[in-house]
Symmetry: C2
Amino acid sequence: MELETIQECDGGVTAAQGFVAGGLYCGIRKAKKDIALVRSTKPARTAGVFTLNKVVAAPLLVDKLQLQKSNLCSAIVVNSGNANACTGEQGMKDAWTMVDMTANALHLPREQVLVSSTGVIGQYLPIEKVIEGIRELSTKLSIDGNKDAAEAIMTTDLFSKECAVRFKSGSSVITVGGMAKGSGMIAPNMATMLAFVTTDAAIAPSALQAALNAANSHSFNCISVDGDMSTNDMVLVLANGLAKNEEIRQNTLAFQQFLTALEYVLIKLAKMIVRDGEGATKFVEIIVQGARSEEEAMQAARSVANSNLVKTALHGADANWGRILAAVGYSGIEFNPANVSISFNGLPVFKPNYEIVLDEEKAKEALSQENITVLINLNQGSAEAHFWTCDLTKEYVNINASYRS
Amino acid sequence: MELETIQECDGGVTAAQGFVAGGLYCGIRKAKKDIALVRSTKPARTAGVFTLNKVVAAPLLVDKLQLQKSNLCSAIVVNSGNANACTGEQGMKDAWTMVDMTANALHLPREQVLVSSTGVIGQYLPIEKVIEGIRELSTKLSIDGNKDAAEAIMTTDLFSKECAVRFKSGSSVITVGGMAKGSGMIAPNMATMLAFVTTDAAIAPSALQAALNAANSHSFNCISVDGDMSTNDMVLVLANGLAKNEEIRQNTLAFQQFLTALEYVLIKLAKMIVRDGEGATKFVEIIVQGARSEEEAMQAARSVANSNLVKTALHGADANWGRILAAVGYSGIEFNPANVSISFNGLPVFKPNYEIVLDEEKAKEALSQENITVLINLNQGSAEAHFWTCDLTKEYVNINASYRS
């Protein structure tokens, strides 16, 4: 796909026309912003993807019901510090309260509000604080509120994550922008990650959902920090049509263009999540080439990306390519190990017919970089997949041994 | 199954009649014993299970060929420090050389020798040193050589692993004993683990293999240290018949008795591997009850046992039961989270209908123990499974960031 016409721009979730946002501290976390609001001045077409975990947090259950009723959304309310997951009836009640309070404060129909939560599982929301937070925040939304919103959805994140792009579609200019959070419990099929994307494109609902599905499968479904899949993951895209372009439909050039822009934003946000991986010191791209299908390439790449042994070896700049081959070996795909080649940042270490060409010194140098590309060629087809992960460090253990404390 | 009649005894792999063993340093590792031999004075019926990894080390390929030719085995030669995996043609040649040198030195038919390796992947064996080691070791086998053999198969293991039991079968006394190694790259469907078990039972070949399959599925397939499955795993059982019992056949009481004894030995060895898990400070038993099938119970238990988030929380004595429920949630089984209950060492923390009964202080105390039992009841059936794992620590990262160095 061509990216030439797509330009990055500032503004994150408020870059597109007609969106305002904000974030502030309401008392869930310890002295950090913990509630965010995003609002579209015009009801927006909405598409969403949600965690595949069988344990689904209350806000996701509420949003699925909301989207069944109406695919128009005017506001998203998000809290951090508490996932409102495994909280039963009370959790559902609290999620609906967040919806209702937001609808009241912004004078919106109830069905046009979506809700999201992230943080500790299994504790009830301090709902009075949340209500007070929504009330206050609803009066402070602005076009400059994107940064506060992006900060307010962070949990163990070390930096906030925003991206926006702009492109020409006919005589209109379309903007796609978003924010995300996530740094642990990151696994394929999403993760403890939330992403909220806004656009002023006019786009048919089915085309919007199709674009999100496709872009998501090449971005958030291709990242892993620890292989744990969360109960709260979601990606929402709101399209309010204010760019006044001709409505985008599937199987058109305009659709391809929109998809490219959306994919650009989601991939950039996904990579930021990996870079911010809990305790991570290295950003690792796993590329599997020469596979018989994209699915098999992805399966192999995911297996390597989730291997603790691979991730600790990369942390230690140890050129232990045997662990990489072993991880492909237990990925479940059929392949002949004798055909495989492996390289680190362009340096071949293993060639077909088990030819070991490892230059320890050069390999150590390659693996000491902050950015590492592991290229695995199965040499049995033409399909490929990319997957992004990070190293596994003592700091990861530190963070997660006392997350709730 | 009844264990009353089964008594533990000393002797490990030489506890049963007619077995001698030994181990010594031949120069593969740094100043540590690295080659072991086990010999049966009478050719023994042999059963084996091997890794499911698609990348299979040379010695396993050789053993599979050997067992096709003859299921009688008189000697097993094992080296540590080098896995002879991903070594292609040269690796196959080296594995056959180990077989031939052992056959020559002990005056055995070539087809009665099995070979095994463990250690670093992707380096050629220093075969001259190995040959010299076999020559020397073959003159030093004894009934007291079990401890040296058990030490010589260790890699990152901190202690050697042996177990033996004795029981009456009719008028005969049958002994089953064995040794194992493993402390990292431990995952379901075996792991970087080797186990060699000897018995003087007279048993039909098909019954021996059936007993091994059953015992293995309740022992080595129920442990996990890091979820990585190795290229070298194998369990071998040799039965030489010197106990002179009536030959054991399947579907008999004697078979049940033998299976119970074998399972006892394998479970004990498997638990030792977990206790010796790289960097581990805690031994964790995951019990899933109330499942619709044993397979589903196992699937859920495995998912919890392999979760980095669960393992770091247990390390930090953090009662983060939400991560446990989330790991069941992405295990792939169907269940209703509202029915689930969870307890730590008998202390309930989560009850059906999302009732959170967590007493933080008591939970902290329970999780500060060295032995932790996590009981998860799905309350939707009567099947259960046990799975053993350890906590994930900074020391695990330490060990594996520089394993080859």
